[in-house]
């Protein structure tokens, strides 16, 4: 069973936090901090598995993590999950995000936290793996997004094309110096300036 799915950046700022067991808020934040410290210490050439028994209250638990550019994706699992399988699952999840957001970068995760949760919901339910086929996941997430858009979306205002919404971010991008070395594929600014 998957105990938790955590995504945080190189400075420990959480970008996605999902626990599949009941934990108080302070405990959750503490776990995020400690996981970050554990994972930060790991060298590039070390295996992606960490024992973290005392952290999550059971000797059985392992942290399986992958580092993509500026983000750490960490899954906390118990012994009923195959370690190598979870590594592949992380890869599937990231590739799905890539498909949904078109060359995903950290900014996408920051501004569309709810969408990322919905995508995760299509992959994992209650700590168990639901679907691993990327196309399926993307299709279902898209269908639900369409439903939402038809109703007016989260902003509860009539929605324009998705690209128009994305444009709002453009003036911001030069100011966000803390994105560091992310590979951002920004649509060429000249068209909209």
């Amino acid at each position: 069973m998957i105990n938790a799915v955590l995504v945080f950046n190189n400075h420990g700022k959480p970008r996605l936090v999902r626990f599949y067991q009941h934990l108080a808020e302070e405990v959750q934040q503490q776990l995020i901090r400690e996981t970050f410290h554990l994972v930060l210490k790991r060298d590039e050439h070390i295996c992606n598995f960490l024992e973290c028994g005392s952290l999550f209250g059971g000797a059985d638990y392992k942290l399986i993590y992958r580092h993509y550019a500026t983000l750490y994706f960490v899954f906390c699992v118990d012994s009923s999950e195959s370690e190598l399988g979870i590594l592949d699952l992380i890869q599937v999840f990231v590739e799905t995000l890539d498909k949904c957001f078109e060359n995903v970068c950290e900014l996408d995760l920051i501004f569309h936290m709810d969408k990322v949760h919905y995508i995760l919901q299509e992959v994992v339910i209650g700590g168990m793996v639901l679907e691993t086929n990327m196309n399926e996941i993307v299709a279902q997430a898209e269908a639900q997004n369409k439903l939402e858009k038809a109703e007016g979306g989260l902003s509860a205002a009539p929605s324009r094309a998705v690209s128009a919404v994305k444009n709002i971010n453009l003036p911001e991008i030069p100011r966000n110096i803390n994105i560091g070395d992310i590979n951002i594929k920004v649509p060429s600014l000249s068209q909209f300036m």
């Binding site: 999902r18 599949y20 598995f49 190598l84 936290m113 209650g126 639901l130 196309n135």
Partner: protein, 756 residues
């Protein structure tokens, strides 16, 4: 009208904050705005507010005031509202809040909604955080959805059912009919979650397990199709068809085939096929192979298959990818008990992993190395392990040291080697050695009689430079106390004897006593050692007297008590001193039972070793405790005799009228770990100076105690006669006793002090 800002804007604002305090301020302002908006019951913008709340919750700020709002959103008709509402419920609520029960009705309605996505949302939420009450209420709905033809819903219902079963195990029966057709699905998502459901049911109930065994042929067929089907673009991951499903099926096969010959046989072919045909260049292939190996080792597979599996693991060990090596070491650890010989073949690779940079790999390699030590390879392995002990991180040292001691005890080829190894460990990782190692080591040293001189010499040299490592110092002081005479006499066969004077020895012991680094226990050891040397050294008795009297006023109560008692020994009971401080007798050593196949001890080892009957394999844990009992018995021998001495002395002191009126009541001299020994006293009829003690030993544990030998020692003034015991086996469960008669003669009828 105030329109609450969009989530996007909030995020942008928060990102501009340059300090934590600024961020907190912004969040507090926003929370206040959200709270007032909630109070106004603003339906249009509620979803926005909850989204913002969830974002702030992720950053670590309290968001509990949004819980009820989530419920209101769930009850709304709009999909957007429901979506964010359910997400909020999953993140903010759990079964400890009473509020969550209000969701039950909403979820029930949504499970029957016309839109499949709404149904999906409800299933997802129930599957994540449904409490037992909710599960009980809604299990019927879930079961209905499990039989629907909509694959999107079916797979979610399957996982939801798993959660229900976990919360309310009694409901498992309810889902049984629905599982009949689950494996006939074409949709891989449904297949996957169905296998998860079946796995959960089989793990929970042996009846279900027996029931589902008949599915093995079907599972084998599905697996075969997956492997043989060729390229299928939908399920392909790096050239392999749906590896996740393959891994799941293999895991279920493992559970079904365990302890069952027929199922295992049905699986043999497919397992062999998967093992040989899978591409290993990518991680996915290795994941499948790994799962296959675990399955082969767990079921009753034929030996050829097992050898294949271990060889795959061996190949994994040589892989460049760290993850694969880690995984291989983990599985080898699981299989080393059952397939010891096969794993031995890979010993050198495993030992190389000890030098890896990765901490996780090193730990695994260390555990595996200890499991692989046997009589044949003990010298080589020990060398590697000692080198590892030297260079490893502190978190490993304690475990490594204990492991080395255990292995050395089981397989030591010679006493000298054993002692050398112990010395190496004590000097390298002396401060990390566990506390119980010290008495074990002392016992070991006592028993290697011919090595006493060598041992004490080496120990002396070790602490000469540095006496900060407590376990080392404790063992060394004890040895110097016991064998100090050998040390100064300059006889040593094994190595070049060193010239040490009595004063130098006392210098070292005194500096241990004074040093700030010495623990209280260590000081106790040192003081006792100094005292013992008073009978072994000839010229420095006065110095010893002085040291002992100084500590009579020590702040440390333990030291003070010892010093005062020793002082008394010097002053009033000097005639008893030599007897009391005699060399310790050889303690009955107990061999622990090593792995049954490979115990090989060199003929040189300890003729003093007591051969214990190896306990039948099924009773291994009980046997272990029996051995511990015997060990503790040995160390309690001194305690028991001191009890006996005290009884005898009191008896002898008693005036005759006491004897005639009441007699000495029998006592229970020892009652620990199920062994009870009773003493009954009477005066001998023939000679009034002789006390006849009858001992009765009974055993309340589940195992017979064999080779029970009672020994006793008395001060020189007394004489002791031990008659032969009734038997040497104490039957279990108090079904019989051993009786033995002991005669003690006190020729002078001198009353002894209470302290003896």
């Amino acid at each position: 009208m105030y329109v609450p800002g969009r989530l996007r804007e909030l995020i942008r604002t928060i990102r501009t904050a340059r300090t934590q305090a600024e961020e907190r301020e912004m969040i507090q302002k926003e929370c206040a705005a959200i709270r007032s908006s909630f109070r106004e019951e603003d339906n249009t913008y509620r979803c926005r507010n909850v989204a913002k709340l969830l974002y702030m919750h992720m950053l670590g700020y309290p968001a509990h005031f949004g819980q009820l709002e989530c419920l209101k959103l769930i009850a709304s008709q709009k999909f957007t509202d429901k979506r964010i509402g359910y997400l909020g419920a999953m993140l903010l609520l759990d079964e400890r809040q009473d509020v969550h029960l209000l969701m039950t009705n909403c979820i029930k309605n949504d499970l029957n909604h016309s839109t499949q996505y709404v149904q999906g949302l409800a299933l997802c939420t129930l599957g994540c955080m449904g409490s037992s009450e909710m599960c009980r209420d809604l299990a019927g709905e879930v079961e209905k959805l499990l039989k629907t033809s909509n694959s999107y819903l079916r797979k979610k219902a399957a996982l939801c059912a798993v959660h229900v079963i976990r919360k309310v195990p009694e409901l498992m029966e309810m889902f049984l009919p629905a599982t009949k057709n689950l494996l006939n699905e074409k949709n891989h998502g449904v297949l996957h979650t169905s296998v998860v459901l079946l796995t959960e049911m089989c793990e929970r109930s042996p009846d279900m397990l027996a029931h589902f065994r008949k599915l093995v042929p079907q599972l084998v067929r599905i697996l075969k199709n997956l492997i043989m089907s060729g390229y299928s673009p939908e399920h392909d991951v790096s050239g392999i068809s749906d590896p996740f499903l393959q891994v799941r099926i293999l895991r279920l096969l493992r559970i079904l085939g365990r302890n069952d010959d027929d199922s295992s046989e049905a699986m043999n072919d497919i397992l062999a096929q998967v093992a040989t045909n899978t591409e290993t260049s990518k991680n996915v292939g290795n994941a499948i192979l790994y799962e296959t190996v675990l399955t082969i080792m767990d079921i009753k597979s034929e030996s050829g298959l097992r050898v294949l599996a271990i060889n795959i693991l061996g190949r994994f060990l040589l892989n460049n990818d760290k993850n694969i090596r880690y995984v291989a070491l983990t599985s080898l650890l699981k299989t080393v008990q059952t397939d010891h010989n096969a794993v031995q073949r890979h010993r050198s690779t495993i030992v190389d992993c000890l030098k890896d940079l990765d901490v996780s790999i090193k730990r695994r390699a260390m555990e595996l190395s200890f499991a692989l030590v046997n009589g044949n390879n003990v010298r080589g392995m020990m060398k590697e392990l000692l080198y590892f002990l030297d260079s490893c991180e502190p978190e490993f040292k304690a475990d490594c040291a204990s492991g080395i001691f255990l292995a050395a005890e089981k397989y030591a080829p010679s006493k000298r080697w054993h002692i050398d190894t112990i010395m190496r460990v004590l000097t390298t990782a002396g401060s990390y050695v566990r506390d119980d190692a010290v008495p074990n080591l002392i016992q070991l040293i006592t028993n290697s009689v011919e090595m006493h001189a060598y041992t004490v010499q080496r120990l002396y040299k070790a602490i000469l430079g540095d006496y900060s490592q407590q376990p080392l110092v404790q063992v060394a002081s004890w040895c110097i106390g016991e064998y100090g005479d050998l040390l100064v006499s300059g006889q040593c066969e094994e190595e070049e004897p060193i010239q040490v004077t009595e004063d130098e020895v006392l210098d070292i012991l005194e500096s241990i006593l004074i040093s700030n680094m010495s623990a209280s226990v260590t000081r106790g050891y040192a003081l006792t050692a100094i005292m013992k040397l008073s009978t072994r050294f000839t010229c420095t008795v006065n110095r010893i007297k002085k040291v002992v009297s100084i500590y009579g006023s020590s702040i440390d109560v333990e030291l003070q008590q010892r010093a005062v008692e020793y002082n008394a020994l010097f002053k009033k009971y000097d005639h008893m001193r030599p007897a009391l401080l005699e060399r310790m007798p050889v303690m009955e050593k107990v061999t622990t039972n090593g792995p049954t196949e490979i115990v090989q001890t060199n003929g040189e080892t300890e003729p003093a070793v007591l051969e214990t009957k190896p306990p039948p394999s099924g009773l291994q844990p009980a046997g272990g405790s029996m051995l511990n009992l015997q060990k503790s018995l040995c160390l309690d021998v001194m305690e028991m005799t001191s009890v006996m001495l005290r009884m005898v002395s009191r008896f002898c002191k008693s005036p005759d009228h006491y004897f005639f009126s009441a007699g000495i009541p029998s006592i229970t001299a020892y009652n620990k770990n199920g062994l009870k020994i009773d003493f009954t006293f009477e005066r001998s009829n023939t000679n009034p100076s002789v006390t006849v003690i009858t001992i009765q030993a009974s055993n309340s544990t589940e195992l017979d105690m064999t080779d029970f030998v009672f020994q006793a020692a008395v001060p020189k003034t007394f004489q002791l006669q031990l008659l032969s015991p009734s038997s040497s086996v104490i039957p279990a469960f108090n079904s019989g006793t051993i009786t033995q008669v002991i005669k003690v003669l006190n020729p002078q009828k001198v009353s002894d002090s209470e302290n003896s």
